[in-house]
Symmetry: C2
Subunit: 154 residues, 2 copies
Amino acid sequence: MPANLDEIDHHLLDLLQQDSGRTLAELGDLVGLSPSAVQRRVERYRASGLVRREVAVVDPSAALLAVCLVTLDHESPEEHARFREWVLAAPEVQQLYNVSGDHDYVVVLATTGMPHHRRVADRVLKSAPGLRRYSTMFVLDPVWTSLTVPTRDA
Amino acid sequence: MPANLDEIDHHLLDLLQQDSGRTLAELGDLVGLSPSAVQRRVERYRASGLVRREVAVVDPSAALLAVCLVTLDHESPEEHARFREWVLAAPEVQQLYNVSGDHDYVVVLATTGMPHHRRVADRVLKSAPGLRRYSTMFVLDPVWTSLTVPTRDA
DNA sequence: GCCGATCACGCAATAATCTCGCGTGCCCGC
DNA sequence: GCGGGCACGCGAGATTATTGCGTGATCGGC
């Protein structure tokens, strides 16, 4: 996974993170390369794991999102592993972060509505192994969502 | 934006949210349709806004993520609007949710490292209009990240 | 300072994929 | 029972992706 990224790489990765539906020719025009050169760079990102995959982004306002702050009973690695495995088994878990501070995990749940959310919260969180307690913040408005990551300082 | 989605639509949307790099023929095999039928359905999702766009997902472990809980001074719509506009202007803001509960917003920041994070936090949050206080949870491990949304109950 | 190796590039031919018009069958309302 | 509207599969044509080849630049060793 070579971190040897030049200016064009940064530009390309920005463009791909915004919209990967563009053709190689379009990308080439935007960054000043031929289509084949673009193709070879993009293939390199994929092979190195820098670019994991391409996904379609579904309008999040069609769903009910909830941000849950989770605290576990103990700090043992085994307990963390069990908890992760348990939570990841649920497809409604959109994001799972191990975080520093008062809580151990931040879990983002995406469901079709409150009934669905209750079922998922009961099944996934309430009965999760090693869970001490959790609190839920319901998302009133998903103002902005992305998975964009900066490849260099702005 | 017709919510008239049949079983094949749900299946297709699941597949596209997992990996939109597949060819129309592959998708057709997986859902039992011809490539052209798949193409027409996918085009409908895009036209209706159900599918917003396609993006490349960059490995998040290459970045420093931070989940910030923000409380504003007042509840006025104008203040919320100003705050949103201010925060959204920063490209390092990966996600911005207006939430219920003790805090007003959840902000996910993605930066290249702690120096970058400090600059962004100072510029984007500390000096945000109407901000009363915020707390930061640093992401130790981005166990799972996606923008996947369920289109029906599981 | 020169030479060879390596790498990324552009170009062009080929292969793969997408796009779209057409004809057919199904379902629903009349 | 009889149209009308839809979504389908098929297939031709256009667009796009892929790959081999030759060239120029850069770098390290001699």
